[in-house]
């Protein structure tokens, strides 16, 4: 799964969470760039991401998430780790 693939699947999650169909994600995008991206929304995003990618994020990984790019990196790592060999 490429970073672009992940970003494409993340986009509807963010659009639904923030109720904004025009939202365009980019790796540097952080909470300060999106109105309403608070801790409550962050939980919503994480739960949706875990469902979408069939992964489970650990607390220490979640605490290090600062941007969309961090999501992409973490999802890529967890998805490849959970893929059957």
């Amino acid at each position: 799964m490429t970073a672009d693939d992940i970003l494409a699947r993340l986009t509807p999650i963010f659009r639904t969470t923030f109720d904004d169909e025009s939202l365009t994600l980019h790796p540097a995008m952080a909470a300060r760039d999106v109105e309403g991206w608070d801790s409550a929304k962050m939980v919503t995003i994480i739960l949706a991401v875990e469902d979408e990618f069939s992964i489970r994020m650990r607390s220490r990984d979640i605490d290090a998430l600062r941007s969309v790019g961090d999501f992409v990196t973490l999802i890529g790592r967890l998805a490849s780790a959970s893929r059957p060999t």
Partner: protein
Amino acid sequence: MLQQLGKLARAARWKTEIALIRRRYRWIERFSALGENCEFGMVQRRLGAEPLDLFRFSCTRAGSLTSAVGEGLQDLYDPEKVDVRLMPRVKGPPVYCVHAPSYGFLFYALESGGRPDLEAFMTSERRRLAFLTRKFMEDCEDGAKIFVFTARHAPAEEAAPLRDALRRHGPATLLWVSASSEKAGAVEAAGEGLLFGFVDRLAPEEQANDVALGAWKRVCHGAIGLWEQYGRLGGRHDG
């Protein structure tokens, strides 16, 4: 000689771990609130941090917290054992809270946003609670965070049992904070995994955001210093 080498290796590992922790968290995010109320959550907000912590906006009591944490907060995963209800406030309109009656915990819920579908709202709140519980337990196991209990009502004798309950799951450290005008800003190590911190005053009950920010900052910086110096305060004394 071998003993000395082992000690040096452990000290080097500890330094590496501290560097990783410093990279992962901003300093104020290295703490996780335990209650009794929202005061420490407000301290973190005033300092620009919004960590995802289970008890950040909750009402807890030390005794029930101790027994609940000791048993791994099992009831918080069970939708049958938590409900969502409107609760009156000292000031302002009532708010939705998630209530765990077996533990006596109250967690502030998200705004329902006037949602007509209360059942869906309750389902999402229960799921949110289960997620935050899972995260809290991982933090206990991990040992990288310092848990903060703001002791408005609880006597200091309740600190050690709470520390013990946290430590059933990992090398956790408890920072027990109470009011003391003489010791404001000070932190004292009180044995394995336990710190006592003091602020000049606690926030008024009806206004949890009216915090003694200066003293809280000194307490938190002091706690991090002790934690790093002594290596999780008893987890490893190699620092």
